[in-house]
Amino acid sequence: MNAVPKIPSSLTDKQFHYCPGCSHGIIHRLVAEALDFHNVRERTVGVASVGCSVLAYNYFNIDMQQAAHGRAPAVATGIKRVLPNNIVFSYQGDGDLASIGTAEIVHAAARGENITVIFVNNACYGMTGGQMAPTSLIGQVTSTTPKGRSRVETGFPIKVTEMLSTLDGPAYLSRVSVHKPAQIRKAARSIQKAFRYQIENKGFSLVEILATCPTNWKLTPREAVKWLENNMIPHYPLGEFKDVEGCE
């Protein structure tokens, strides 16, 4: 008989409000496990953003601040500059980070701000009901692209992690997914590494995590996993895009 995994001490025992099949629950757990692994729970300050994860402060068993839409990297910067020995991370969705918050994420990365960003990309605005996000794929049907996203009218999806990898500031940039157990294990290692780099004062780290949104994609959880695999991964390839250790 297998042992049942315990709740990480960096998570509260509050039940998640997320929809069935949503990836946020897994990602919350991976972040909490990474904080536990590095034994930094008591010196970590998290920043929740606006979107489905706006209530993240209810789930992470740590000190938290809730930021205005898109501004989490600036808020995290303010915290880190006051508390340079604390571990500071933001938890942001793709509407928050890749649309209204593009300036803040680019400049936090360019400064090499010693923070960690957990960037959850589910190719839509989840909380407001599945509108087109800057990460929505060409042809993707959303509530504001009812005929599918058209490149003529709305342009192309933004590959944030690749874009940030052109900057000299970041120490670690990766894209992972949590749609399969093997991928979850890889994601866990990547998130752990991102926090380790911060602990070692290496500078800015960001892990983009491809995530499912069955409710807004109008798919079952099982179909959503398939859709992510068949549509998102070809456009958003997984891997490490920047690693100062790897380059050394």
Binding site: E42, N61, V75, G78, L83, N86, V106
Partner: protein, 356 residues
């Protein structure tokens, strides 16, 4: 100890004296000297100066830093404050102490860079969304830019509320001797058990402005309103000049008050009993300093470098008991004492017409 300082520099030095160690800002005229001064001074004393990518990022850094327990300031000028206003609402709601400096320029729009008082409404009536108030201080000399800045940090921490200092390019750029108060020369030691510094000592802290339950949000609003009532009852400040026997009462703040004072003196030389109330706190508006003189005065004249903003608060304070006149210049134009004197004489003549 007296030092000759530029207004903008005086604010920076006072902030350091009051314990401010963190500054986040974005370049904008005419507050530039303040940022530039702190870019040199803060690192010298172990503080942090960070030029943000935008006004919006700067104020959100202030939110984060204040929430982490830092004694923090930002500065900008009119259009920059508009950009910051969303997060100023968040800061007020989360009850984070900080100081925001607005060295005003002529608006609306991109406007100009010359002195103006056109952000009175923005500073005192909101600017951002929701029912919140800033404490708003209006210095009218370089000395006051120093002393009110130290006061601003005390008020911010006492009430856990953002405090705005509003000046203009004229005050920011002029040099005057300033008495330096050494008694503040230690960083703020105020205990901040609510700050998010890591939950090593038990209960975790959350800084948040989201209340999805309307009953909880109303409770938060009531809590804020109780605090605002306390501030209104405790913190009204104004200077009275020749008001004891004044028949014609001028109300003016900041730069305009300096000129209005000259006009009052000129009126006195002509035998007109004029006096001046200079609000130092714009919010809370110093009603208690104006009210005692209303029944004795024949008329009130509000002078502003805008199109009539404080005028509304003066009318509320006067409450219909006497006539309220207005003289204003806008767009960066500064009223002369002669123009104000002419308005005092006109007011005197009109009030005689009414009463005779």
């Amino acid at each position: 100890m007296k030092k000759l300082l530029k207004g903008n520099v005086a604010i920076g030095e006072a902030a350091i004296a009051a314990g401010c160690r963190y500054f986040f800002g974005y370049p904008i005229t005419p507050q530039t000297e303040l940022s530039e001064h702190l870019a040199t001074r803060l690192p010298e004393i172990g503080g942090v100066f960070l030029q943000a990518e935008s006004e919006i990022a700067a104020i959100n850094m202030v939110y984060g830093a204040a929430g982490a327990g830092g004694t923090v300031m930002t500065s900008s000028s009119s259009p920059g404050i508009s950009l910051k206003s969303e997060t100023i609402s968040y800061i007020a709601t989360a009850e984070l102490p900080c100081v925001i400096v607005n060295i005003m320029r002529g608006g609306p729009g991109l406007g100009g860079i010359q002195p103006s008082q056109s952000d009175y409404f923005q500073a005192t009536k909101g600017g951002g969304h929701g029912d919140y108030h800033l404490i708003v201080l209006a210095p009218s000399s370089v000395q006051e830019m120093y002393s009110l800045t130290t006061k601003a940090f005390q008020l911010a921490e006492t009430y856990r509320n953002p405090v705005m200092i509003i000046g203009d390019g004229l005050l920011g750029q002029m040099m005057e001797p300033v008495e330096i108060n050494d008694s503040f020369l230690t960083p703020s030691q105020m205990d901040k058990p609510w700050a998010t510094t890591g939950c090593q000592n038990g209960q975790r802290r959350i800084i948040n402005t989201l209340y999805l339950d309307p009953e909880r949000l109303e409770e938060q609003n009531q809590k804020l309103q109780q605090k605002y009532s306390l501030i209104v009852s405790q913190e009204q400040m104004a200077e009275s000049y020749l008001t004891t026997d004044a028949e014609y009462l001028l109300v003016a703040f900041g730069t305009t008050a300096r000129i209005a004072k000259e006009a009052v003196e000129a009126a006195r030389r002509k035998g007109i009993k004029a006096g001046l109330i200079r609000p130092i706190t714009l919010w809370p508006f110093p009603v208690s300093h104006i009210a005692p003189f209303i029944n004795k005065s024949r008329a009130v004249l509000t002078v502003e470098m805008n199109c009539g903003q404080m005028l509304e608060d003066v009318k509320l304070a006067v409450n219909g008991k006497t006539e309220v006149y207005f003289y204003g210049r806008s767009g960066g134009m500064v009223p002369s004492s002669k123009e104000i004197l002419d308005k005092i004489i006109e007011m005197r003549d009109r009030s005689y017409e009414c009463c005779s």
